[in-house]
């Protein structure tokens, strides 16, 4: 198998920084005239002076949307109404569709900690409390100004092509994977690919198929978790006409479609035990029966299965058949998380940037230090799939040849945000830390209060009280 060869190295010299310091900062202040905002617009005009800032006002969201459509804006200062939460969601949604994605400074009367945390998650630059203080506003504005960013040239990556996909990376963990793929591909052994979501299980399966003895046959992929349970059996094994309501004609299932090739069963852990038994029979006896049919049909397929779950754990819980596990895991390939792949992040970023730049007709050759740092610090729950998504979006919004932090999703930039009424760089208060931690635990437990309280080691009533107190 050919290796990934980056022609540039991560330590390439920085690209020329752009000169944006002189650019006029355009601010649209919405709902800031008189009324509940206490004449905020007047204050803003005085605070920013005249140099390098252009301010316009709009009375409300609809009129602001019309103004946003007339050109490039850098900052929107929006005074939220009585339903601040709702207003915030509308604003974030609106700005997502605006040209050049301006940043939002939200202003609210007595914002709750919950509102601030939600705003932070949504990538809002800052939430200021009414009446707005000059220093708070100017601090928020400073962070909105485009800054000079050093950039590194993106290396040219020659991936190992797998059809329309590619294997990219040269970390030690990935080299192990390549070696294992190279060893197993020439055989017809059943393979189980295990790895978190987005680590590239299907790409590895395709690589095995392409480099294997049945490469001239079809590669048929079935996502077991995507298909409704009541349809999965007929999807896999096919059905005869009239087998059930809606079976208007005979259907050839994926096992038969994959004849002489490879059948890739993705997210296999999501299959019911009854269906697992039928898969086991198909694997053991190399024959199937269509739903509603009586004939036994021989099938000649190479089977590759994949899962993002711990199947041994599922076996212990009685949700996965042990005999099927051992049939599938003749060879087990474990894929590393993106976080374990070190500088592969830069190679993958470069690969995706080049790919999407070609697709969208852009010329992007470098990435700013800050953008790269944000990418490196991100948790990447969705691994390479998430990175690919982020880069595609960034390439779409990029306007010159450097990919910058401002092109990354709001939530990435939100990670830089600070809480209001607190001088820059100051440490968090105990209440702020507590509110953030509760928010994290609630997200982890899918908002199950009982489970969250158990993790936090407090009574559920205490948790409910704290949630109310912080406006979570």
């Amino acid at each position: 198998m050919s290796r990934v060869v980056p022609n540039g190295s991560p330590a390439s010299p920085p690209a020329a920084p752009r000169k944006e310091e002189t650019q006029v900062l355009r601010i649209l202040a919405v709902g800031a005239e008189g009324g509940g905002s206490g004449g905020l617009l007047h204050g803003i005009r005085q605070w920013v002076g005249e140099g390098g800032v252009e301010i316009e006002a709009a009375p409300d969201l609809p009129r602001a949307v019309r103004q946003l459509g007339t050109g490039r804006w850098h900052v929107v200062v929006a005074v939220l109404g009585d339903h601040a939460d709702d207003d915030l969601a509308w604003w974030v949604d609106t700005l997502r569709g605006a040209t050049a994605a301006p940043r939002l400074i939200a202003v609210a009367a007595g914002p709750s900690m919950g509102l601030v945390l939600r705003a932070e998650k949504l990538g809002v630059l800052d939430v200021l409390s009414l009446p707005v203080r000059r220093e708070d506003f100017l601090r928020a504005l400073r962070r909105a100004r485009p800054i000079t960013e050093a950039a590194v040239t993106l290396p040219v990556v020659e991936p190992h092509a797998v059809g329309q996909y590619a294997l990219v990376g040269q970390s030690a963990a990935m080299l192990d994977v390549y070696r294992l793929v190279a060893r197993v591909a020439p055989s017809t052994a059943t393979v189980l690919v295990q790895g978190e979501s987005g680590t590239g299980k299907e790409v590895v399966a395709r690589a095995i198929h392409i480099n294997g003895p049945v490469s001239s046959g079809p590669f048929v992929a079935v996502n077991c978790a995507a298909i409704p349970e009541n349809l999965l059996e007929s999807e896999l094994f096919g059905h005869e006409k009239g087998a059930f309501t809606g079976a208007v004609m005979r259907k050839i299932g994926r096992f038969e479609q994959a004849g002489g090739g490879t059948l890739f069963l993705d997210e296999i852990a999501d299959m019911s035990l009854a269906l697992q038994a039928k898969i086991l029979r198909a694997v053991q006896e190399r024959e199937i029966e269509r739903v509603g049919g009586t004939d036994t049909i021989p099938v000649d397929v190479r089977l590759i299965a994949a899962t993002n779950r711990d199947l041994k754990d599922a076996i212990k819980q009685g949700r996965f058949r042990e005999d099927l596990y051992y049939r599938l895991a003749v060879v087990l390939i474990r894929l590393p998380r993106l976080g374990e792949r070190g500088d592969d992040l830069l190679l993958l970023t470069a690969y995706f940037v080049h790919q999407f730049a070609a697709r969208y007709g852009k010329q992007i050759h470098a990435i700013s230090d800050r953008a790269l740092e944000l990418l490196r610090n991100h948790a990447w729950v969705g691994n390479v799939r998430e990175l690919r998504n982020v880069i595609e979006r960034a390439v779409i919004v990029a306007t010159d040849e450097v990919l910058r932090a401002e092109h990354l999703p709001e939530e990435f930039r939100g990670e830089e945000a600070t809480l209001p009424d607190r001088p820059e760089g100051a440490l968090l208060t105990l209440a702020e830390v507590e509110a953030r931690h509760i928010t994290r635990v609630l997200a982890h437990t899918n908002h199950q209060i009982g489970a969250a309280a158990e993790i936090l080691g407090i009574h559920r009533n205490t948790l409910t009280r704290k949630m109310k107190e912080y406006g979570l």
């Binding site: 609809p62 019309r66 995507a226 969705g382 998430e386």
Partner: protein, 431 residues
């Protein structure tokens, strides 16, 4: 410490719930609190996530049950109070008041999607109104029934009620009633692709509204004429009507009407091949909606139009994001019919990407269009797109079967225009 149990999938949760009307609010609550499984968001099945694959925590459902009870109690209170009010009016020999109370109860039923119950209230209101000397309440009852029949897709029946309402309104010099009846007749004709009829009714309504000088009514009829012109592909005329409608609504600061109007404006711009302007109009429509009383149905419509615009431009990522937002709104607002439309569009998107697994969206859409108040029109729309999806993937036999099913469904509701459209597709496939 025992880890929390995984959530139950909605498809399994709904399978446990019998299709009983009394459980409607519980079903709505279950759907609205369902969440995508965090683990599946980035998994390879993530892009195919539908309502059935979302998860629900029984504990959360139990905790939120008082919400469902509150909705039920509030609704029943509205109905009971309306009835008692009608009774008191009867006692005072105030027939007009009694009819108004009964019609109000019907509107309440319509708001929660109980259309057959709404009809029962309107029928009683109509019966009571027919015995009155003042015939305006009868106009109101007939109008409510007409609108209900249009909602049910029974256009001829709707038109019959509006005709009666118009005749009485004109005889009674009830201008508001006459304008509304004209608009209803126009809507019925439009829904059946009878352009000339629709034009005549809207124009007549507009003449009456102009004489009365009510800007909001004038605006509504101008918008209706704009919608009609757009269907007839008379795009310049449509633009003119919409511009005049906008002037009327802007002067009255009518947020909801502005949102609807801008949505039509967006569709017109898209038809004119101006995606940038279309996108701007849709975005502005959404912004107006924020100022109006929450209308989840209209929000879903606008977001779907925006998504379709992205789809046409090949911006699949943006299109999908907008569809997912529409999905959130439809789930929170308990709009299963609209969810069916959203999933149909998602299936269409996958078809464009030649992604066979996209069929899961159509299957979910069919299921949703059959839930509770089944809508043959929605189901037919799903089958049309499902057929086109299969055709795109080269599965012609299946494509034909789905299109034939759509033709059958359109035939059953008397929708000749859409039936012809499907027949044309079938002919194209044979050729």
């Amino acid at each position: 410490m025992t880890p929390p149990l995984p959530p139950v999938r909605v498809e399994k949760a709904l399978a446990l719930l019998p299709e009983i009307e009394a459980l409607g609010p519980l079903r709505a609550l279950l759907v609205s609190i369902s969440r995508p499984d965090e683990r599946s968001l980035w998994s390879s099945s993530g892009p195919y996530l539908t309502l059935g694959k979302r998860g629900v925590q029984p504990e959360e459902l139990r905790r939120r049950m008082p919400q469902a009870f509150h909705v039920i109690t509030e609704h029943l209170q509205t109905l009971y109070r309306a009835y008692v009010e009608a009774l008191e009016c009867q006692q005072r020999a105030d027939g007009t008041g009694a009819v108004a109370a009964l019609v109000r109860a019907g509107h309440g039923e319509e708001r929660v999607g109980r259309l057959s119950q709404a009809r029962a209230w309107y029928d009683v209101a109509l019966r009571v109104s027919q015995a009155l000397q003042d015939r305006r309440p009868e106009v109101e009852s007939l109008r409510s029934l007409g609108e209900l029949f249009l909602r049910l897709g029974q256009y001829a029946e709707g038109a019959r009620h509006f005709q009666r309402a118009l005749a009485i309104a004109e005889a009674e010099f009830d201008q508001t009633g006459a304008i509304a009846a004209c608009e209803g007749l126009g809507d019925a004709a439009l829904a059946q692709s009878q352009w000339t009829g629709a034009q005549a009714w809207y124009a007549r309504g507009l003449r009456l509204a102009t004489a009365g000088g009510d800007q909001r009514q004038i605006g509504r009829l101008e918008r209706d004429l704009g919608v009609l012109a757009r269907h007839q592909r008379e795009l310049t005329v449509a633009g003119e009507h919409l511009r005049r409608a906008r002037e009327c609504f802007e002067s009255g600061d009518a947020a909801e009407e502005m949102a609807g109007l801008l949505n039509t404006q967006g569709q017109l711009e898209a038809q004119l091949g101006r995606p940038q302007a279309a996108s701007g109009a849709y975005r502005e429509a959404l912004a107006w909606l924020q100022r109006a009383p929450r209308d989840a149905g209209l929000e879903v419509t606008i977001r779907l139009n925006l998504a379709e615009l992205h789809l046409e431009a090949g911006r699949f990522l943006d299109g999908e994001e907008e569809m997912r937002r529409a999905e959130q709104v439809a789930i929170a607002g308990n709009l299963p019919g609209r969810l069916a439309q959203i999933y149909t569009l998602m299936g269409k998107l996958r078809g464009r990407q030649l992604d066979e697994t996209g069929f899961v969206f159509f299957e979910q859409a069919i299921e949703l269009s059959r839930m509770l108040e089944p809508s043959p029109t929605t189901e037919a729309q799903v089958y049309v797109e499902y057929g086109l999806f299969r055709e795109r993937l080269g599965q012609r036999e299946e494509a034909r079967a789905y299109l034939e099913r759509a033709r059958e469904l359109y035939g059953s509701v008397g929708d000749a225009a859409d039936r012809r459209r499907v027949e044309a597709e079938l002919e194209k496939m044979t050729a």
